[in-house]
Symmetry: C2
Subunit: 373 residues, 2 copies
């Protein structure tokens, strides 16, 4: 007789019940993951242990009429990870994305996470991961705001008013209690308007919308950038004031001088080393750089204008006080985040534990007695 | 109001009810997938569209006491794919493996497959994939036996008597009705004995066991190799008789002359091109080659002793009659199979359709109305 294997299924509403919308809790989870990244107690994919994930790349054209073609936000990606510390668990995020989804009543991306016993590989949980993924993505700049932003930050600029930045902003204000004004910018004005309204109603923070990016940024103490990839976003160095903290979660273009006159903190320098390695191997570095958030920084490193990643700072180093973060009120600090499966596994694990303890979700049987063992 | 999303959960016993043990059906499914591979109507991971998958690579040692370490069969792998034709669906296989599992009443690997709508990314099904994966792995040499082996093949040698070769052998004999004798070889004699017994009882084919590999191979018309990676397997060129078909599903070492005097047919030359590309990028080609089934062949190609992959034959080419397979009764044909996610998606899809039509499995709700859309 073999071993019976059960696991827990969590729908989206189960993940809400398990606490995925508790921004402060998600930020604490992300802080813990950042310390594990800094210590090295994790694995992501590949022999360098730091691959972001493996995607299906849809072709630009195809002789096969049904094959999905390249298009806005169209991709499928698998993102495996092991996370150590008290988590000590393996998992995989798997998602499909399509910019056309919202017109069909669906989120742009549809995500699931599987958690697995690190030794046996048995599934522990399979869960809807849309809110989980948004929460962990938002919690990352939330943790960065806590450790890098001026405590007296009052004005927050939101550049890109989609669900990701909603989650980022919620996390950021959960860590900076003095924030009293939000300035919302989006390519689509009505999205900026809905965001502002949501901020007022849900978080009690009012402000304004603007389609003038300079006006949006000029007075911001904290800037969170998570704009659509559909149109390149550009801001001038001089629009960012002294002492500001710029939290970058989506691609952005700016003046070279901005990068050179800003203190840069990365989510995980090892991840960016893996990106640079992949770019070098791809045979078309420039093209590869154009598709990743850190691209402009990698170019400056190749040109020896920025220090190499091995000499740069990860947020976990700051949290653990291994390297300094903000040292002066006047520092302009830029935080670069690319998304790592370790955060999905970390937050997913805490939701799983909460769900198990509180009888949330459905228990499913993989097998009573495995057919082959 | 957004769109409600439901999907189907299939346990291992649900997959049995949906037909995963029907070897002939699985072989027909694999044949269909082979034709799509030959036509190019599929995508696997990466920009070359042919990556096998992305794994967590456990380190040899670690300063963290809980981190899983490299060990026999220890890995986690994510394998995404799109499969065209009538399937027209995306999916991902995700599994963890550990040679210590059987001593805990578990299969060596624990596998799941997720199928997704190619456009929206919504999950269609999440299923136990142990039998699915074994069935598709076995169906591949089954399809190869049908198209490459002599129809009058009578003696089948089974090298490695684990669950994978059980599935291979079941598929092979489903396609070669004249097989009347099996010769079983395994490092562990009792495993060979159980296999022989199972063959008698389940398939009505008797034979013998032997620990002398030469004796096992000398008289075989068909050889199926799926031995453990724990100990390298070596056979001599002269042990394989004229007219034999050697179906390679696991790593094997043999004389150079065997590869040079055998007609080689691949599961998919494009997959092997991707392996060779990855090996070149890894910076340690020899080491990479040592870890993959095609390694000895890639070495001979590098040395220009075998024709390059672009001039070689895929099984789908033979099925579609684009290239010749067996042309003479005396041909020794070797078939090389490495495992592709396209087969998991193809067979998984047919099980999903059967389950849906017959009310097998559990319907699960991802969301009634997505929180963010």
């Amino acid at each position: 007789m073999g071993k019976r294997t059960e696991f827990l299924y969590l729908s989206e509403s189960d993940t809400i019940e398990a606490g995925v919308l508790d921004a402060d809790r998600c930020v604490r989870n992300a802080e813990e993951v950042f310390t594990l990244l800094s210590k090295g107690d994790y694995l992501m994919g590949g022999s360098n242990h730091n691959s972001h994930g493996l995607g299906l790349v849809f072709p630009k054209d195809s002789p096969f009429p049904n094959m999905p073609l390249a298009g806005p936000d169209r991709r499928f990606v698998a993102m495996p990870a092991y996370l150590g510390g008290r988590f000590d668990v393996c998992g995989n995020k798997w998602y499909g994305s399509n910019a056309a989804n919202p017109s069909n009543g669906l989120p742009r991306s549809v995500l699931t996470v599987t958690l697995n016993d690190k030794d046996t590989g048995e599934p522990l949980a399979f869960m809807s991961a849309n809110l989980l993924s948004a929460a962990r993505t938002g919690a990352v700049p939330g943790a960065a705001a806590k450790h890098l932003a001026r405590k007296d930050s009052k004005v927050c600029a939101v550049v890109g008013c989609g669900p990701i930045n909603q989650s980022c902003y919620r996390s950021i204000v959960s860590q900076l209690p003095d924030i009293r004004e939000v300035i919302c910018y989006d390519l689509f004005e009505e999205k900026a308007g809905s965001f502002l309204n949501w901020s007022k109603v849900e978080l009690g923070i009012s402000g304004k919308i603007s389609s003038d990016l300079e006006e949006v940024l000029r007075n911001a103490d904290v800037v969170t950038i998570a704009a659509s990839r559909l149109k390149p976003l550009y801001f001038k160095d001089e629009w960012i004031k002294k002492g500001a903290t710029v939290l970058v979660t989506g691609p952005v273009h700016t003046d070279e001088s901005f990068w050179l006159c800003s203190k840069i903190v990365y989510d995980n320098t090892k991840l960016h080393e893996a990106y640079m390695q992949e770019a070098a191997e791809s045979g078309n570095k420039k093209n590869y750089y154009a598709g990743v958030i850190g691209g402009p920084l990698y170019t400056l490193m190749d040109d020896h204008l920025l220090p190499p990643l091995c000499e740069s700072v990860s947020l976990g180093d700051v949290i653990l006080r291994k390297k300094p973060g903000r040292t002066r009120d006047d520092d302009r600090i830029t935080f670069i985040a690319c998304g790592m499966a370790t955060f999905d596994v970390g937050l997913g694990y805490d939701l799983y534990v909460t769900a198990k303890e509180n009888g949330i979700g459905q228990r499913l049987v993989l097998w009573d007695d495995p057919y082959q063992s």
